[in-house]
């Protein structure tokens, strides 16, 4: 009993933890929507571009200015013998109010004849759309069977998308079940890129057309499309990541996808963005959020709720279940909860419509404040502490009247507190620097002031210890305090006092060298490796002759000893051996001048084996001769 309960609660817990849904990383801003409109509003050159412009703009909710002019253009460019031309004209005229296309019996017959298994899916789509736009009757069941045949023949993505679009024009009584299943098959063909994008490898246009076709068919049959919430968001990321479009057809596809995602019966992705930076302060206490659909239209039925707001550093919850109020944008007075300055993690939920997708958003909100410096005390402390410290208090933003003197026997000390101006809470900003600036020499030395456990900032300057930073140059240094942080609205640069530092003069350098880091350095002359000095040619030649001379000596000695070739038998093996041996010696010379080891080994193997065989024979014969002569 108990282990079963434990398992059940674990299961529930895991389901609860799983609901970290995706939120869109890419969406169209108002400028992007305006740019899309501008692209679609370009003057059109032919019927196809007129179709894209007129129908695209109508999807965005914009109607062409001079409808009559456009209607006349459509009628004059219409070619009644082409199905494609009829399609463009019919669809465009339907988007314009009061535009009529003359329909003849021939036109109707042409369109009806195109609905067959022999036409391509694109042609069927065009003829069915033209028929329905012109208000002509069509046989839905025939279309369905033609489409099914075409889908199995042309298995590419674009054809199936056009089939889906066509099916959304047919009567609801037709058997659209099989075509509806194609949505799921197509969704399986989408490529998941990094868990962020979901798109067809055919590109952006195909993905956008798929979205608009899937939703128009799903709305038509009133069945939810088999797309998970995360998939819808990934599709949003893919389609709206491109903010400038290469062609009119691409812009048209994005416009239709945006229109179908903002107005369908099942899934409406929600885009939440902060108005300006997500930061509040005492002067701007309201956190303002824009909650729109993908076309940047505000969602009227939404209600925005902060589920929890907690500080990033301490993880303590500040708010829970607070509602945003709608005054044009959704706003919440966060400063009313008196948060300390820092960053807060907001978990916001948008409710009001069951169609909302990605309606849980995580936001990081910054709370800024103003800092005040309290209890700034400056003192000169003697090192052996025989004389008590003289403490001077300075009020921000004034400067201390007297300057402070410190030589090698004394330390200069500074303590202060940084507090929030309104609440008085102690702050530890990221940057608390003490800068000493010698106005005469232009030297600048910066130190960091550290807070102790009670958040009291201390800075001590030991003159003797720090003389290297100052280059032992005595003089008057202006002391500045610099305080800065991302959450501070008023960064501080305060000239607190003047400090006269005395170093032991012997160590001061004569002139002050400005640290020139960024001047051109002396050019490095590359020293090429000098070729070794060769001895004069005369010497080399002389020694070459000297080294070769013992050979002469050898020949003379051999002659004197009586070397002869009287025993030279002219048998083939002997001749072959000597030729082979001479060839090997020649190969050595050629190796020295031309070849590399591999080639030499190759030739050596050939010549060597021949020489070996011949030599073996020759020596055997010699041995036989020797042995017979011995016996």
């Amino acid at each position: 009993m108990y282990p079963f309960e434990g398992l059940f609660s674990l299961l529930v817990l895991s389901l609860v933890l799983e609901t970290q849904a995706l939120t869109p990383t890419h969406h169209l801003t108002t400028t992007d929507v305006a740019r899309l409109q501008a692209v679609l509003s370009q003057p059109f050159t032919d019927l196809k571009s007129a179709y894209y412009s007129v129908v695209g703009l109508s999807k965005l909710g914009i109607f062409v200015a001079d409808a009559d002019e456009t209607c006349r253009f459509i009628n004059s460019n219409l070619d009644p013998s082409s199905v494609e031309s009829l399609f463009y004209a019919a669809e465009a005229s339907q988007a314009l109010s009061g535009c009529e296309i003359p329909v003849t019996n021939d036109t109707r017959d042409l369109l009806l004849a195109t609905v067959s298994e022999d036409s391509t899916a694109s042609q069927i789509h065009q003829s069915v759309s033209a028929l329905s736009a012109l208000g002509l009757p069509l046989a839905s069941q025939e279309v369905v069977s033609a489409l099914k045949a075409r889908i199995s023949k042309e298995d590419n993505v674009l054809a199936i998308i056009l089939a889906l679009q066509t099916a959304s024009r047919l009567s609801q009584q037709a058997e659209l079940g099989e075509i509806l299943e194609e949505i799921e098959d197509l969704a399986a063909r989408l490529d998941d890129l990094g868990g962020v994008y979901l798109q067809f490898e055919e590109g952006l246009e195909a993905t956008a057309l798929f979205v608009s076709a899937a939703y128009s068919l799903s709305d038509h049959v009133d069945m939810e499309p088999p797309l998970k919430e995360d998939q819808v968001i990934q599709l949003v990321n893919s389609i709206f990541s491109k903010k400038s479009w290469d062609s009119l057809s691409e812009a048209f596809s994005v416009a239709s996808a945006a229109a179908s995602l903002s107005n369908n019966r099942f899934h409406v992705p929600v885009i939440v963005s902060a108005q300006g930076p997500a930061a509040v302060s005492h002067s701007h206490p309201f956190l303002q959020l824009q909650v729109t659909d993908v076309l940047c239209q505000p969602l009227s039925s939404a209600s925005v709720l902060v589920e929890s707001a907690s500080a990033v550093a301490s993880k303590s919850a500040i708010l829970s279940q607070s509602r945003f109020t709608l005054h044009g944008v959704f706003e919440l007075n966060f400063m009313a909860s008196q948060p300390a300055s820092g960053y807060y993690q907001f978990s916001v939920a948008i409710t009001g419509d069951s169609r909302f997708v990605a309606n849980h958003v995580e936001l990081k909100v910054k709370v800024s404040t103003r800092v005040a410096i309290n209890n700034m005390d400056l003192s000169v402390v003697d090192k052996d502490q025989s004389i008590g410290p003289k403490t001077t208090r300075v009020e921000y933003p004034t400067k201390a009247k007297a300057s402070f003197m410190a030589d090698s026997h004394q330390n200069f000390a500074m303590t202060f507190q940084l507090v929030d101006e309104t609440t008085g809470v102690e702050l530890t900003p990221h940057q608390t620097f003490v800068r000493l600036h010698n106005q005469k020499t232009g030297q600048e030395v910066v130190f960091v002031a550290e807070p102790d456990s009670k958040n009291l900032y201390k800075f001590e300057l030991d003159t003797a210890e720090r003389k290297t930073e100052f280059d032992s140059i005595s003089g008057t240094y202006a002391l500045y305090l610099m305080v800065g942080d991302a959450t501070l609205e008023n960064p501080i640069l305060w000239n607190v006092a003047d400090v006269v530092l005395k170093f032991l003069d012997e160590e001061a350098p004569g002139t002050i060298q400005a640290k020139t880091l960024y001047v051109p350095k002396p050019e490095i002359q590359h020293l090429f490796r000098e070729p070794e000095k060769k001895p004069p040619t005369v010497v080399s030649n002389a020694f070459t002759a000297l080294v070769l001379s013992p050979f002469l000596l050898l020949l003379i000695l051999w002659f004197k000893l009586g070397a002869n070739i009287s025993n030279f038998t002219l048998s083939p093996s002997t001749i072959l051996f000597h030729i082979g041996h001479a060839a090997m010696l020649g190969l050595m010379y050629v190796y020295w001048t031309h070849l590399n080891m591999f080639q030499t080994l190759k030739y050596l193997a050939i010549i060597g084996s021949l020489t070996f065989l011949a030599g073996n024979r020759m020596l055997a014969q010699k041995a036989v001769k020797r042995l017979t002569s011995q016996i």
Partner: protein, 113 residues
Amino acid sequence: MSNSVFSVISRFVEEYRSSTPNKLKMIDAYLLYILLTGVFQFLYCVLVGTFPFNSFLSGFISCVGSFILAVCLRIQINPQNKRDFLTVSPERAFADFLFAHTVLHLVVVNFVG
């Protein structure tokens, strides 16, 4: 003192001239030639400099190697050593000499540059 040295040397030379077979004398002449060649190379290096050091090394090693191989040949051919080299006939010794020289010259030519 020098007298006895001189007499030893002259006796040695006499013995050598009379009792050494001709074949061995020919190899000895060859050994002398190799020796002189090596000495002259070394002299050049000492006097002028080691500029193409690899060439000097390869030439010198060639001399040293040839000298050693010739000495081996002489030992193996000498009929007085026949008992030590029962399995090695003079022809076999000569064939080994040639093969070893081939390998030596391959290395030397590779290194001389």
